[in-house]
Amino acid sequence: MRFPDTLTRLHALTKADNLGLGLVVLGLVLQAGSVAAALKLICVWLLLLLSGACVSQLIARNTRERESRP
């Protein structure tokens, strides 16, 4: 196990989530037929960025609270 605890795993996950997806979207934008489609793809990416950030925040907070409890 390379990442022993929740926080480091989250750290690794966000890279895949944000950057990986961003690159995928970038690739798709180049293939998109129209500007509208490209914009939609970018919107999808932004939404995922937002939700990803929120969820990892929540998970991290939960973990911290759980660990601080005896």
Binding site: S51, Q57, R61
Partner: protein, 312 residues
């Protein structure tokens, strides 16, 4: 390439299904199920069922997953509660019989007729008369509109069942547990930022359903999810189920559907038929009427039985 993707999907699906059934930990099983639902949506894309993929992602994996996660956390079941003794000897016959059923089904898959029977030509031939371009919407709201009406009623029956499970003192009260979260926390922030976007997207999915994949169920699920997000963040509370506006809103959609059906009797000669030239507007009117009802019923099914009285 396509075959490779499909094979990978197949293997992953089976592995996750096995995980869901066999994992020792309840939470792990539910999380496995949600991932499995997302993969299933991909499988639907491969089977050129974009509409089903959307529904699967929204309802099959999303709402069902949320429902099960919530249940797992409320049951806080310990991981190995099932280690009871006497049943283990029945595991082998159970496995053998399940495998036999599976095998028989597989043989059936290969025994299906060489030239597959299909209704696609019939649908294609009659699509023009329904004035919508998405063939699935045509089936759902014209050719087999009865099933769609019944489906809305199924949801309501399930809701009656769920509500009937409240304890007597809480009858008529608010469903689900009161949620609290930090007013300035990230969850409350999300619940403020996301719903406007979600409502726009939900409305878009709903609107586009007449001509492209999408429709009322997928849209309603998104709207319900936004409502639940607001509730989860504690920004609002679920309404008590005795509220008249709530009950009227729940049944307004199906009643409107039935009313349009009887209108068809007058104008087009059959129950659930539409007069020529008004097909698309009527279909959209039905969907528009169903949308709020479905949003509410989906959200309320997730919230469960009333658990609290009238307290603020």
């Amino acid at each position: 390439m396509m075959t490779f993707v499909n094979l990978l999907l197949a293997v992953l699906l089976l592995a996750l299904a096995a995980w869901t059934t066999l994992a020792r930990n309840m939470f792990a099983a539910v999380v496995g199920f949600i991932a499995y639902g997302a993969l299933l949506a991909l499988a639907w894309v491969q089977l050129s069922g974009i509409d089903i993929a959307l529904t699967e992602a929204a309802i099959g994996s999303g709402l069902t997953g949320l429902l099960l996660l919530n249940a797992a956390s409320r049951l806080h079941v310990n991981a190995n509660a099932g280690g009871n003794t006497g049943r283990s000897r029945l595991r082998v016959p159970a496995a053998l019989l399940s495998a036999a059923v599976s095998g028989a089904l597989m043989l059936c898959v290969f025994a299906l007729p060489e030239t597959p029977p299909t209704l696609a030509p019939d649908v294609a031939a009659n699509l023009a008369s329904t004035e919508v371009r998405n063939p699935i919407t045509a089936v759902l709201l014209a050719f087999r509109a009865m099933d769609t009406l019944l489906e809305a009623i199924v949801l309501l029956f399930a809701l009656i069942g769920v509500w009937s499970l409240s304890s007597d003192p809480h009858w008529g009260g608010r469903p689900g547990l009161r949620q609290y979260s930090e007013p300035n926390g990230i969850l409350a922030y999300t619940a403020r930022v996301l719903p406007p976007i979600g409502i726009v997207v939900g409305a878009y999915i709903f609107w586009t359903g007449a001509d492209y994949p999408g429709g009322k169920f997928q849209g309603a699920t998104l709207l319900a999810a936004m409502w639940l997000l607001v509730l989860m963040a504690g920004l609002a509370d679920a309404p008590p189920i005795r509220r008249t506006w709530l009950r009227v809103a729940l049944v307004a959609g199906p009643l409107a559907f039935i009313a349009v059906g009887f209108l068809g009797l007058q104008t087009a000669g059959a129950f659930l038929a539409y007069p020529e030239g008004f097909v698309k507007p009527l279909i959209i009117a039905i969907e528009l009427a169903l949308l709020p009802s479905l949003t509410l019923v989906l959200g309320l099914l997730l919230l469960g039985a009333p658990l609290r009285g009238e307290e603020p």
